[in-house]
């Protein structure tokens, strides 16, 4: 049975409503409301996003910071439940995904894209080649930062989609008997089938990005393992050299290819791509997730093997060692996806956002497994014991009394 849990249920009596542009006016309107809700108690706060085209990202961050305020007792911040009803675009979509539990109504339109900085343009006027390059650099760094922030906010959802899709992997393999498919390949196949046409575009972009990791890394590792004690600039220089060699070798059959005409841009992209991949590899959080959902990723035999270990910390270590190879490719792909979401405009449906790990639940869609189910699920209480007489027959009147008296 399901026992409703306040941490997963929107509550209009403790809510703020985000409508229209995210600007100073909205911030002024919401600030006293948020402060009042914060002062009342530490129960979750619901942020309803009704119809917002987005707006200033710093306003979105100010709202988020205020919603996550502690108090004078240094209490844990209130949990944030976000709900999009009609439209959440740009910064409003980021606000939605930032919720500790994010819900979208079916039919709701969601738009994710990279950072726009129209505010910077006047400061950079007149736009010279140097200043345009500086602007591109700022945008890249901001997008990378946003992508990694998105990873942290949404990782649990994506790991969950993967685990829940696992029973379908054998079906995918059976449909493609001539291919050797990894778990990640199967997962991509399962998700692809669920996505709308527009969402498929961003998913493919992420797949291409992820596919590029492999040859690049192979080329990097042949140049020897980087010494972490080395000056970071030297480590970066070694990476750049390896990428230059890789690009030259890869473009040998292409006579028109030069660094000047696009090659240098690609080199810069690859450099950042490798940085994001290596960053995701060293994540401590992936180890944590191995412990939480590890049992779902392993076979019965593998689990039995781990169960034999008596020491708890050794057991956890063994679980992580076993599960990390399963989750690591997924993790890297997810990082690639969060970066792909920062490119161009990506219009998504509520169901797309669910499958891409951007929200937790599509309101009233009971076909999509949610984290809430895990938290609200409890074993059914055992059936009431039957009261019998000496011959084992149920005493009718007493039975009736007992069934009405028991919950």
């Amino acid at each position: 049975m399901l026992i409703p849990n306040v941490n997963y249920r929107p509550d209009p009596s403790r809510a703020i409503y985000v409508d229209g542009l995210l600007d100073d006016k909205l911030l002024s309107r919401l600030t006293p409301l948020i402060l009042r809700l914060q002062a009342q108690n530490r129960k979750p706060i619901t942020a309803y996003i009704l119809d917002s085209p987005g707006g200033n990202t710093s306003i979105m961050h100010s709202i988020l910071h205020m919603l996550r305020l502690s108090d004078q007792n240094s209490s844990t911040p209130c949990r944030l439940i976000t709900v999009a009803t009609t439209k959440a675009a740009s910064a409003a979509a980021d606000l939605l995904s930032s919720g500790d539990y994010a819900i979208a109504f079916p039919g709701c339109s969601l738009l994710y894209h990279g950072v726009r900085t129209p505010g910077l343009i006047p400061a950079l006027q007149p736009l010279t080649a140097e200043r345009t390059s500086l602007l591109a650099h700022i945008l890249r760094l901001t997008n990378d930062a946003f992508a990694m922030e998105l990873v942290k906010r949404t990782e649990k959802r994506f790991v969950f989609r993967f685990i829940f899709s696992r029973p379908k992997f054998e079906e995918v393999r059976a449909k493609n008997p001539n291919k050797v498919l990894s778990d990640l390949d199967c997962f991509m196949e399962v998700v692809s089938e669920k996505l709308s046409f527009k969402a498929t575009k961003v998913f493919k972009k992420a797949q291409e990005r992820y596919a590029r990791y492999e040859p690049l890394l192979a080329n990097l590792t042949t140049k020897g393992k980087p010494d972490r004690r080395k000056n970071p600039v030297k480590v970066e220089a070694a990476r750049i050299k390896a990428i230059v060699d890789f690009e030259v070798a890869e473009n040998k059959p292409n006579p028109g290819w030069t660094f000047k005409d696009g090659g240098l841009t690609r080199l810069a992209e690859d450099f950042f791509l490798i940085a994001e991949y290596l960053e995701s590899q060293q994540s401590e959080r992936i180890k944590y997730w191995c412990g939480v959902i590890g049992q779902y990723a392993l076979s019965k035999e593998e689990l039995a093997e781990i169960d034999k270990i008596t020491d708890e910390s050794a057991k956890n270590e063994a679980l992580t060692t076993k599960v990390q190879p399963y989750l690591q490719p997924l993790w890297s792909f997810f990082v690639a996806l969060c970066h792909a979401l920062q490119e161009d405009d990506n219009e998504l449906t509520a169901e797309d956002a669910y499958w891409l790990g951007l929200i937790d639940e599509v309101m009233s869609d009971t076909s999509l497994l949610t984290e809430r189910w895990f938290e609200e699920w409890r074993e059914d209480p055992p059936p009431a014991p039957k009261d019998t007489d000496e011959e084992g027959k149920v005493k009718a009147n007493e039975k009736a009394d007992s069934t009405t008296a028991r919950p």
Partner: protein, 67 residues
Amino acid sequence: MRNQSKDRKRKDPGGAFKPSQREREFSEAVERVFRRYGTDLSAFARDVQRDMRKTQDNGQPNPPVGD
């Protein structure tokens, strides 16, 4: 301001990630479901969907949300 001091406490000096109270509660919930259904999440989903249908068929309003 965000409660940065608390955030800092969540990380040990080595920088290892430490789960929050909520994350620990979630791990327990996952463990509870695993103990009952094992790796068969489809069976879990079916049971939950059946429970939700039962609530809808009985025309019951959403039960009150507990703390």
